[in-house]
Amino acid sequence: MLPGYPYSIVNFLHYFFFYLLFSLPLTLSYRNTKVINFAHSNFITYGMYTAVFLHGLLGNTSLPAAAAAAFLVGGSMALLNNIAVFRPLERRGASPSLVMIASMGLWIMYNYLLYMLADVAHFFSRKNFVSYSKIAYSDVPELSIAGFTLSQSFVASMLAALGLVVALYLFLEKTRLGRAMRAVSDNPVLAEVSGIPRDTIVNLTWLIAGGVAAVGGAVWTCFSGTITPQSGDAMILQVFTVSFIGGLVSLLRTGLGALAISFIENVGIAALNTYLGVPTSFRPFLTFATLLTILIASPPLGAAGGLPYRFRRRG
């Protein structure tokens, strides 16, 4: 029997759904825009705080409503980033690292903007928004299957993740716009031929990427015991690790990455703790070690790639 069964299994699936919600949009945004977006964590956190503010200030207890609002917030943030920052930089021919540094600047900015918003909200409502409890939504059911009770957040994250996967599949495979989007990632030059301007596709990509990540954040509010303005940042390296397993381009491999990392983080660490006495505090260490191993063993496919340099000697 697996250690921590059945909670580690439940958590494993739970995290799997969340990583799908957080990492698939990241992969999508990189493969279509080639921007390594540090500010991705902001989409997630702002999604959470959209739900938190709706709950704390307006008393909203409907998760679909919170998720819809989060989509708008995250999507428009991402769109704004692109129009105001990334596109002008690319027009000017800035290098990918420079664009990445700009996204780092955005990340810092949004992060502390949120703290400021939380301060202001605290001033008006006298509620603590810097550390907010789990939200109980009224319109998400708990499910009972074969004696197991699946919590509200499990049901919500499962539905959201499944919905995302199905919608992405249908969109990318079955619609003209979706096919154009795939073409952009495969061959930007060729994509121009399809008749849909690259700009439109990139904008749409950002809207979807930011929006979906924010929806993930909104769903997170009924799972995590505490929501802080750091919640998104604290998991961003994990989210990136998942996407790196997918080489930042393959959505299917990103899904596998989500499976692998959530397995390591839940079942893996519990097993190591129980059988080998490895402290639980090594959980993030494991994730980072996995990230490094992946980066070194199999460099991301979608990146400009390493040098055409071979370290081995010719025999």
Binding site: P3, G4, Y5, Y7, S8, N11, H14, Y15, K127, N128, V130, S131, Y132, S133, K134, A136, S151, F223, S224, G225, T226, T228, Q230, S231, G232, D233, A234, M235, E265, N266, I269, A270, N273, T274, P279, T280, S281, F282, R283, P284, F285
Partner: protein, 438 residues
Amino acid sequence: MTSPSQAAVKRAFDAKLAAVAIIALVIGIAIGFAAAGAFQPTAGGQAAQPQPGAPAGGQAAQPKKTYTIGFTLPLSGELSSIGKIWEKVVYLAIEDLNREVQAYGFNVEFKAVILDDATSEEKALQNVQTFAQQGIKVVIGPAASSQVKAVKSFVDSNKIVLISPSSTAPTLAIPNDFIFRTVGSDAGQAKVLATLARQEGARKVIVFHRNDEYGNAFAGFFERYFKELGGTAVKMPYQTGLSDYAAEVASLASRVQAEGADAVVLISFDTDGGNILSHAAESPVLTKVRWFISEGPHGAAELKSPTVGEFAAKVRLLGTRPLFIANPLYEDFKARLKEKYGVDASVFCDTLYDAVKLAGWAILRAGAYDGEAIRKALVEVAKNYYGPSGWTIFDENGDKANQDYGVWAIVKTPQGYDFKDVGVYERGSIVFLEKPYP
């Protein structure tokens, strides 16, 4: 390509090179000078800078002697939520102190210079250096033990008396230094928590603790005392700063099952503690064992949520914290802080208030504004002082010798769940004042 011109240009290069660093520094110095000039008056609170400790001059008929106490507080950064309240406590304490000493007939006035250290080691040291340059010999703060460590060498060698109201790390329990702490070290509380757990019937506990200095030291002492009392403790650290602790809680559940433990001891701060408890509430394994908690999560909003409240009732959750229960001075202090500044007293507000009062009286008793003298006086003054935090006598390490501890629980009130102090630690055992859970 004549060589003279070459050499000249080369010389110019080298000269420029050497000059650049100097120029940059000179510019920096100029700016720094301007800044110092611009801010000194506001920082000192008075346009003409009197030497602290020295009489402000003989020009006025009855000049008041002004003493300055330096404060380095976490007004921003990690601990800013309590830092902002502390600032008000300082104002209140300085007012009270001035009123008291003048009532006793001393013609003196105390002033507070507050600097923000953003919970950072570097800034705490810079602030203490700034105080030292102004001749200030008594500094109150900084908040975190890691910051106290960073300023320790400086205050010891400059003979500045430093009183921290909230540092509890046992590694700082060092005799004969200039560091005083108006709060007991974690070792004391660990003993109380161990007593509580044992008295409540726990035999084998999992100590689930933060993997930082606070958590590790606390857990270490807990393990030692719990063993002395005849129990078994298994330490289990978790990494801090994560977005969520569901995986850690799952590991904890698995460990509790594997070890057959009958209680969990949680040593955490507020955010992580709230998170862990809310996940534990969903685990059938963890709702079957007892829970004992350190002072960290006390006061956190997350613990007042219905989920955690119900969980607390199920596991009959009990916590400890430094507190002198039913102290009329504390109640009075709390009420006046609320009335005057509109803030609720949080952790270490009482110890900060007492630190200010002790510092003031020690300066007067020392007779000279001199670190060595104040240090000696402080020890004496503390023996005769009783404040909101109780008796303040220092032990040989300069830490509070007789820290009192209370036991808290989460109880149901008409407004929802809330914290309540339900017991005290007295002569080696816990005395319950009321039954927290039916």
